[in-house]
């Protein structure tokens, strides 16, 4: 082989070996020997200034939305609940894919979208300056520490400033499309700041772009997102109880999306809402079932 071929082979090997374009991985047997990464979080208070908001508006409307709609079919239901609210609120949603954030944001009415920030893992989205800037400008992300550390700007400050927040209480994307347990962060913020929680449930994002994929799959898959009635923490309700109620709210919405509003309501009343954690069966069957697309929209012949 000549020098050029060798060079190409070398570059390919390094590209593949070190997963260019993806996060690097640690071999399993080396995991105990990896020191905990130092919390290197890039602050992003600037991203909620009017100038940054203007840039974001342009980026979302001129780039993100057309691109998003070119790759998937998205349909939002229940957005009208927001008409009854004045904000700020916490949107608590299930989390299965990187598509969840644009799906929720782009489903919101413009005036809500412009005043909504997305809580994002500080160790994932804010560990390098370019990821911090990119995600802040595109999604208005806000760093939260899912390992329990402290940050300069807390979600509470942002809520107090009148911004709504999208929070994924599971803390990470699902590995099989089903819902995991909810952490207490969203419920805690709601109780602490007296803010209502709007449950949000969506289906189809896992099938379209699961964990590990860098781009939505071919064929413009259907995504559905449904907003539920706001939940307000009771006066004596504990954070733990409220978190359970939020999760039940999301579960009911998922049921509603799969069946009908009334059927889901009946099941919720009788306590038979299907467990959003999915059936306890082999992993492949869980993945198989969760990747069933929501029934497709009837395609219109014209218009």
């Amino acid at each position: 082989m000549g020098f050029l071929q060798d060079t190409i082979a070398d570059v390919r090997q390094v590209k593949r070996g070190w997963r260019w374009g993806h996060r690097s991985q640690v071999p399993r047997s080396a995991e105990p020997f990896v020191p905990p990464s130092s919390p290197n979080v890039y602050p992003n208070d600037w991203s909620r200034t009017p100038a940054a908001a203007a840039v974001r508006e342009l980026a979302q409307k001129a780039a993100l939305e057309p691109l998003f709609r070119s790759q998937v079919r998205a349909r939002a239901e229940g957005v009208d609940v927001l008409d009854r609210l004045t904000g700020p609120v916490i949107f608590a949603a299930n989390h299965a894919s990187h598509l969840d954030t644009p799906l929720i944001l782009l489903s919101l009415p413009d005036e809500w979208r412009r005043r909504t920030a997305v809580a994002a893992a500080a160790d994932y989205f804010f560990d390098t300056w370019w990821r911090a800037v990119g995600s802040s400008l595109l999604f208005n992300t806000l760093p939260i520490d899912r390992r329990g550390g402290s940050l300069s700007t807390t979600p509470g400050d942002v809520l107090a400033d009148g911004w709504s927040l999208v929070i994924f209480p599971e803390g990470t994307r699902s590995r099989d499309g089903w819902m995991g347990s909810f952490r207490l962060g969203a419920a805690f913020l709601a109780v602490e700041h007296g803010v209502p929680v709007v449950p949000v449930a969506h289906r189809g994002t896992f099938a379209a772009m699961p964990r590990g994929a860098g781009w939505p799959g071919r064929g413009r898959r259907t995504l559905r997102v449904r907003f539920g009635d706001p939940l307000v923490p009771g006066e004596d309700e504990s954070v733990r109880d409220f978190a359970r109620r939020v999760r039940a709210g999301v579960a009911q919405l998922l049921d509603e999306d799969a069946t009908s509003w009334y059927a889901a309501l009946r099941r919720a009343a009788s306590g038979t809402t299907p467990d959003p954690a999915g059936p306890e069966v082999a992993e492949w069957r869980r993945v198989w079932e969760s990747t069933q697309p929501p029934e497709a929209e009837p395609r219109r012949a014209w218009g």
Binding site: V11, Q13, G17
Partner: protein, 526 residues
């Protein structure tokens, strides 16, 4: 924080791993399940080197403080390790120079006039003035070299050797006369690996062929298991017996130092990092260096590597009675190099780097490459070898550097004539060793030029004797088939081919262990 050494098991997340091969390296995709032994990261260094030296000299182990041993009118000899240590050579100032300066300051204060400094190079080549200056420092060099009081040891200068007697096993002890007749012999060592130091310093470094032949032979080496573990090494047992004889004749004040393992300076640090932790910069450096080396002519590649000077940090210094000091030194060496490995494997993979103890500023010829692989690296174990009896060693080295005829003239003849007859260490030793050891031309070159002694290539071959005896097959990846064939080995182009060839010995799905060095590691096989 220093992370310990550990054993990686290659899985689907493991990036290609770095393997040294002479004046270069490759990135190798190892089969899933391969065990890779990584050395510990550099252990904490001594905060103040000069203070640590001062403390060691004033508070030695099982000995009076050095100032109390220095008297006006005495004969003081300072011996020091030669350029075979450390590897790569240390960035100036060398630790030996810093220690010697302090010893000399104390000697000057005590009014000692008769001081000589001798490099303990035994049958190694004479160092050049520049090489000695690098070790001892400019001040010491200027004060002693022009007067002839700083010199290389000459093991063939019969008039300046002293036969101190024999051990209980009849081994001759013959060392430098000046050292033997000194009132105090201060030995300054760099204990890079566990085989160095102890009674090996004076008993071997300042000894003649007459003394060395008792333990530098194939029989002893096969019974040194390993020579990195002095308690189980027949070579060290012999050196320790000789040390007892030396002790009866001369007071030795041993100073042993240990360094960490920062062997690669900037911008080559990626060579010491765990691959999955390579940053984008490290990946770019590795790619750039590989492609750059591919473009360079051999001479430039040689310079690129041999100009490297390691930024070692001192991790410990102990002075005093030889054995007590060495005990402490080994603890430090083990702290830096020991890695527990669970059980033996069928195949041992080793990357042979550009440098070994005998090719500093010289070429890694095929015999030295074999000595590095089957000698040093194979023997770098405690307990049992990393590879099982009858297993296979897969070594990476191109074996294409040829011979440096200034430094290794007898190697050329050993390669051309001796290995053509036999590659069995026992056979070549019995049949040819005497002839090479007493050849007047080799002796002349050893004494007046910069040549290794005529017998030295035999020692290299003996070093590998235990490995050759233990292994069922040896395969060189990327090696020159002619050179490997001459030495009785086989070659393969890739690891996959090598494993295919090894399958006739160890089956088609062997267990594989790769020792990821340099930096040096010592596998403690349980």
């Amino acid at each position: 924080m220093t992370r310990p050494g550990f054993v990686l098991e290659v899985d689907d997340r493991t990036p290609p791993l770095l393997v040294h091969e002479g004046l270069g390296f490759r990135l190798e995709d190892f089969p899933i399940g391969t065990r890779v032994v990584y050395p510990p990261e550099p252990v904490p260094a001594v905060p103040d080197v000069d203070e640590a030296i001062r403390d060691a000299l004033h508070h030695p182990v099982d000995s009076e403080p050095l100032p109390a041993l220095l008297k006006p009118g005495m004969r003081l000899t300072i011996a020091f390790d030669d350029l075979s240590l450390p590897l790569p050579p240390m960035r100036a100032p060398d630790i030996r120079g810093r220690i010697i300066e302090q010893v000399l300051e104390l000697a000057a204060r005590a009014g000692v006039d008769d001081v000589e400094l001798v490099a303990a190079n035994a049958l190694h080549r004479r160092m050049t003035a520049a090489e000695i200056r690098h070790i001892v420092g400019e001040r010491v060099f200027r004060s002693f070299w022009p007067q002839g009081a700083l010199y290389n040891f000459d093991a063939e200068d019969r008039a300046n050797l002293a036969h101190l007697g024999t051990t209980e096993k009849g081994e001759d002890v013959e060392i430098s006369k000046r050292a033997a007749e000194s009132d105090l012999l201060v030995y300054v060592n760099v204990n890079l690996v566990a085989m160095d130091g102890g009674h090996k310093s004076v008993g071997i470094g300042l000894a003649s062929y007459r003394s060395l032949r008792h333990h530098h032979n194939a029989r002893t080496m096969v019974h040194s298991r390993s020579f990195m573990d002095h308690k189980h090494s027949a070579m060290h047992h012999s050196a320790w017996r000789m040390g007892a004889v030396v002790k009866e004749h001369v007071k030795v004040f041993q100073i042993e130092t240990t360094v960490d393992n920062t062997v690669f300076p900037k911008p080559y640090e990626f060579l010491m990092k765990r691959e999955w932790e390579w940053s984008v910069k490290d990946q770019a450096a590795a790619l750039g260096m590989r492609r750059g080396l591919a473009l360079m002519p051999q001479k430039l590649r040689h310079r690129t590597f041999h100009d490297l000077r390691a930024a070692y940090n001192l991790t410990g210094i102990n002075a005093g009675e030889v054995e007590a000091v060495h005990h402490r030194t080994l603890r430090n060496v083990h702290r830096q190099q020991r890695v527990e490995v669970d059980g033996q494997s069928d195949v041992l993979v080793l990357g042979i780097p550009y440098l070994g103890p005998y090719n500093v500023n010289s070429r890694m010829n095929p015999i030295l490459a074999t000595c590095m692989g089957l000698g040093y690296y194979f023997n770098s174990y405690l307990g049992r070898p990393v590879v099982r009896q009858g297993g296979v060693a897969i070594l990476y080295h191109p074996l294409d550097e040829g011979f440096n005829t200034l430094h290794h003239p007898s190697y050329v003849d050993f390669y051309e004539e001796v290995l053509a007859e036999s590659t069995d260490p026992m056979v070549v030793g019995e049949k040819f060793e005497q002839q090479f050891a007493t050849d007047p031309w080799y002796i002349h070159l050893y004494r007046t030029s910069h040549a290794y002694h005529g017998v030295h290539p035999f020692y290299m071959w003996y070093w590998a004797a235990h490995g050759m005896d233990h292994l069922g097959d040896v395969i060189w990846v990327g090696g020159d088939p002619k050179a490997a064939g001459r030495m009785g080995f086989r070659t393969a182009t890739t690891l996959r081919d090598a494993l295919e060839m090894a399958s006739s010995t160890v089956g088609s799905s062997p267990s594989i262990t790769y020792l990821h060095n340099p930096p040096h590691l010592l596998a403690d096989v349980r």
